[in-house]
Subunit: 104 residues, 2 copies
């Protein structure tokens, strides 16, 4: 199992759109997430800061991400969600953070 | 079970101290965390941004946090870790983020 913590910045005037979108994520998007072996997935906000935390329990993360990137439902979803990000014009969205501590 | 995602800002010249401290957390601090019913606890960095994710599976979070705040090991630990935070002079450390999406 691998843990991921990622951060991104939203556009100030798109925070509400992002919140609203994620309050009712399409079932086919949830299905794509599930098929990608992602679990315990949360997204949290503080102002324009967005943090995603999830756990990956498949055995080929890169291949699963590539398959998700090609999923038609995800491509439709991203048409709505990606423009919410400050880095949209540069194609910068969630970026991996560095885990410096873990305890269970 | 409650999930927490929190964010804080570190002082630029203290990021390395913070990383080093958390690479070798004292056993009595880990014990205090465990006694506080915190599990699956990770801290991640991106530049001066610090994000803590953890799960609480006790039944009185506020009481557990108060007890941890009074733990002598934690008080000693915080003498080292708290000065790493940008908000140290104002007593501002990790602050709760707002969860806007969850899927498992």
């Amino acid at each position: 199992m691998r843990r991921f913590c990622q951060r991104a910045w939203l556009k100030e005037d798109k925070v509400e759109d992002y919140r609203r979108l994620h309050a009712a994520v399409w079932p086919e998007v949830l299905e794509a997430i599930r098929e990608s072996h992602i679990r315990n997935y949360s997204i949290s906000l503080f102002g324009t800061l967005a943090v995603a935390y999830f756990e990956y329990d498949g055995d080929d993360y890169e291949a699963d991400m590539r398959r998700m990137d090609a999923n038609p439902a995800m491509l439709r979803w991203w048409k709505y969600s990606k423009p919410c990000f400050k880095g949209h014009d540069e194609g910068v969205y969630y970026e991996d953070m560095e885990e410096v501590f873990y305890f269970d």
